[in-house]
Amino acid sequence: MRYTRIGLASYAIGAVLVVTAVGVAWARRRPAPEGPPSAVGAAASGPTSAQDVGATVYDAECSGCHGTGEARRGIPALRGGAVSLFTAEGGREYLIELLLDGRVRRAETGGIAYVQSHPGYPRLSDAEVAAVLNHMLVSWGNDAFLPRETIRYTAAEVAARRPRP
């Protein structure tokens, strides 16, 4: 009897916590980008456009910090910024490595020391890394700044930079 009540209390407290989690998720939800649902999953098994894959990976992995490409506190803008990086010397390769390995480095601006970091995404496939980089290069008006002769990232190019065990 008393133990039944404890069982109920556990479920009640568990329910409160789950409901809170659902509420938080509901309040924070943002619609998924256009395109078929589960495009990343489909990328492995079925045909879908590389553009959709790029947008979906961006939404799931990048948009949390980078939003829609705008600058935020401590996070540089991808709008414009991504193209500057891409066109700088070695920038094209740097972006691939940044996504695969991540970066942590100390920097100093105006006498304030801070840590710049970007997570690595080794779990993304070569095609997904290429797709999300391409997505970034053509989104938020970035395509207007891209040199005319730009060649898109390819999965093979990413594969070549992936560290081998």
Binding site: I6, T20, A21, R28, R30, A43, S63, R73
Partner: protein, 437 residues
């Protein structure tokens, strides 16, 4: 009063369980993402909160366990533990169902330390629950289970914490990082205190076995006295965890109810029946053996209830805490009417009979012995404790009677049912299970 304290503690518990989620949600936060992704992450944070609180539940804080009873806190620890693992499992399951590509994160060789720490934390938690639920079929001994339970628990929390910090999305700023790390360190600290520091503290206040006195077959009284100190204050009916002849850090400790009077704190007695590995050898414990006493614990005591009369119901060695109450009340010259129903298998198994006869003279006490197997010439009730037997002893509606029930699980469940059916309010029934773990 106790109800309010209980509700307050439950409220505090829920808030504490949500701390990691709240830290994650405190600005600056990343922009919102798809619902399923957010839900998965939120459940992960809630699971982390629950996991850490498990350490607080078993830390033996009297103030926390008092309003509920420590047996219920332990039971809650078990049930919410299973629920916590389900919440934690929901985190990857939702992710992978929503985007099957995430399944790649489960590969331990993917080279992603954030994913790896998450996977390992989950494995540790699942292992912990599996070993706990099926300890006996798996052939894991109590001591081995206890050590593995602690190690797996601490590893799971440390790995889950690493997973959150390495993923870094919601805790990207130093203060969040620090807050979360401090929060879970505090909970691990509780277990370090309980298992490493508190034993040291107890070892500085050792007790010595004075006597192991045999009673009826298979029942003993372990008598201990403090070494050059005053005794231990406790409420009659409470219990203590004892380490008998073991190092301070030994995991072999056992909960026993005091059976001596609380008015004589410098000479403690514990009624012990030969039931398991340790209790089976209790008769062989030599006088002079060092005993470490962690106590008092428990909320099963006549001192915690205002009552005009008491109905005490004991089964087998469940008599220990009840004997403690009776001896204490006798020493205090208490004149309240008392009734004791004492169920045993056979007459020659009725422990502490001469003490009880003596107490009948010193107190306004009526004792009803119930024998499962009545012998020839036995005039008293035989079989189990029944409704017919209890009804005349149960006070009427406005009586301030408190019922204390301690015995084997089956008897407790049956008698509690009878009492509730007879209209005894549940807050007038106090229970103590002697099979705590």
């Amino acid at each position: 009063m106790r109800l309010h304290t209980g509700l307050l503690l439950i409220g505090l518990y829920i808030v504490l369980a949500l701390v990691p989620l709240l830290v994650g949600l405190a600005p600056p936060t990343p922009a919102g993402r798809a619902f399923w992704l957010e839900l998965s992450v939120a459940l992960g944070f809630v699971g982390l909160g629950q996991l850490a609180l498990q350490f607080a539940l078993i830390a033996r804080f009297r103030r926390i366990s008092q309003p509920f009873g420590i047996d219920l806190v332990m039971q809650y620890h078990r049930e919410i533990g299973i629920l916590t693992v389900l919440l934690v499992l929901a985190h990857p399951v939702i992710l992978i169902t929503w985007r099957p590509a995430y399944a790649r994160m489960l590969d331990p060789l993917s080279g992603d330390p954030a994913a790896l720490s998450g996977v390992l934390a989950t494995v540790a938690m699942v292992g912990l629950v599996v070993v706990s639920l099926w300890r006996r079929p798996l052939g894991v001994g109590y001591e081995a289970w206890r050590v593995s339970h602690g190690l797996l628990g601490v590893s799971a929390l440390a790995l889950a914490q690493t997973h959150v910090l390495l993923t870094g999305l919601y805790v990207a700023v130093p203060w969040k990082y620090a807050a979360l790390a401090a929060w879970s360190t505090a909970f691990v600290g509780l277990i370090v205190y309980l298992r490493l520091l508190k034993p040291l503290e107890l070892a500085r206040r050792p007790w010595r076995v004075v006597e192991v006195r045999p009673d009826v077959a298979g029942t003993w009284s372990l008598v201990i006295e403090p070494e050059g100190r005053e005794g231990l204050e406790f409420a009659p009916g409470q219990f203590a965890w004892l380490k008998v002849g073991r190092s301070a850090w030994s995991v072999e400790e056992h909960p026993f109810s005091f059976s001596s009077s609380a008015e004589r704190p410098a000479r403690l007695e514990f009624g012990i029946k030969e039931l398991g590995d340790f209790t089976g050898r209790i008769g062989a414990v030599a006088p002079g053996t060092r005993v470490l006493v962690d106590g008092p614990h428990g909320s099963f005591s006549c001192d915690f209830h205002a009552a005009t009369d008491l109905l005490l119901i004991a089964g087998g060695i469940g008599i220990s805490p009840i004997l403690c109450m009776l001896r204490t009340l006798a020493d205090r010259g208490d004149r309240r009417p008392l009734a004791l129903v004492y169920a045993c298998s056979r007459w020659d198994r009725v422990a502490f009979r001469s003490e009880l006869t003596d107490l009948e003279h010193r107190l306004d006490l009526r004792i009803v012995y119930v024998l499962e197997e009545g012998h020839e010439g036995w005039a008293g009730p035989a079989g189990y404790v029944t409704r017919e037997l209890l009804m005349p002893l149960i006070g009427d509606d406005d009586a301030q009677q408190q019922v204390f029930l301690c015995g084997p699980d089956g008897m407790m469940t049956a008698v509690e049912r009878i009492l509730l059916d007879a209209g005894v309010p549940s807050d007038r029934i106090s229970l103590e299970r002697f099979q705590l773990v």
